[in-house]
Amino acid sequence: MIVAERKPFEEIKEMLKGYKKVLSVGCGTCVAVCLTGGEKEVAVLNAELDMARKLEEDPIELGAATIERQCDREYLEVLDEMVKPYEALLSMACGAGIQFLAERYPDKPVLPAVDTTFIGVNQDVGWYEERCRSCSACVLAWTGGICPVTMCAKGLYNGPCGGTDQGKCEISQDQPCAWFEIYGRLAGQDRLDLIKRFYAIVPWKNQKPRTLIQPGYKKPEQAK
């Protein structure tokens, strides 16, 4: 899932300076699961903002709405009427959701209340770890299910650098060396030969926004 982190309160407050009526919009999927932007967090943030602005003798009127997902048009629809009286929208969704919200209501300032952090796994309640950089060139089949792009500090595709230190990465003793791990995993599966594969330099595709259309589906304009 997508993991996000709430922005520092000061930063959010700064963004909202001057606005008197703001709707906080939560997102009920990824950011709710990582305890950042569901109903609960919207309520907490609104309470905080309400109090902070009152303390500054500059009260703000806050609305709250948490929808299923801000990255789906159909779910956004319920907001169409609701947003009207508000000067600005404060989104607690990931970067995609925030932008989709902004796209739908182009005349409203849409402000981010969270920093989208990574695609990761849930190790335990409130504990998330990055596992994927969405690079569009997955090599997990050949690396024992361990991603060298995400797990190696340098994103190396062809074995460790000189900084590997007793199985740890030179950047930190808490960070395992991805290639050390890959070696161990492949050795355990008796697939060590795979490690000898050579990967050409990857033409990174994340320089322009990527689009995905599943087989059997088309963009509406193509369908016409």
Binding site: E10, E48, M51, K54
Partner: protein, 115 residues
């Protein structure tokens, strides 16, 4: 035991401090309470195993939130005692009241009145 403690304390009953939500504590301050505190069982003695430990974490969380907002963290506290400790309850009630008196009234109170 009829031990005297300040009249300004009103108790809201919950089955366990594990049911005390961040939102409940925030709401009290938001609505103008000068202070709010959770009173749970002694640590390690929670009837529901760990509710009081969770409450402590939440109280700590709310204390951070209050500081972010610009209010004193000490308006929110957590106390632990066993049900047989009436005098301790009264002592904590007094301690919390003294603490709040030192902090002064909640500046949000005037907004609550105009509500």
């Amino acid at each position: 035991m009829r031990l005297d403690y300040p009249t300004n304390i009103k108790i809201i009953r919950v089955p366990c401090t594990g049911k005390v939500d961040v939102m409940h504590l925030l709401r009290a301050i938001q609505k103008g309470a000068d202070g709010v505190y959770a009173v749970g069982c002694l640590e390690g003695n929670c009837h529901y195993n760990e509710g009081n430990l969770r409450a402590r974490e939440r109280v700590d969380h709310v204390r951070i939130l209050l500081e972010e907002i610009g209010l004193e963290a000490d308006r929110v506290r957590m106390y632990n005692l066993s049900s047989g400790e009436g005098p301790t309850f009264a002592a904590y009630a007094k301690e919390m009241t003294d603490n709040i008196r030192e902090l002064g009234p909640n500046p949000l109170k005037k907004w609550a009145k105009t509500h």
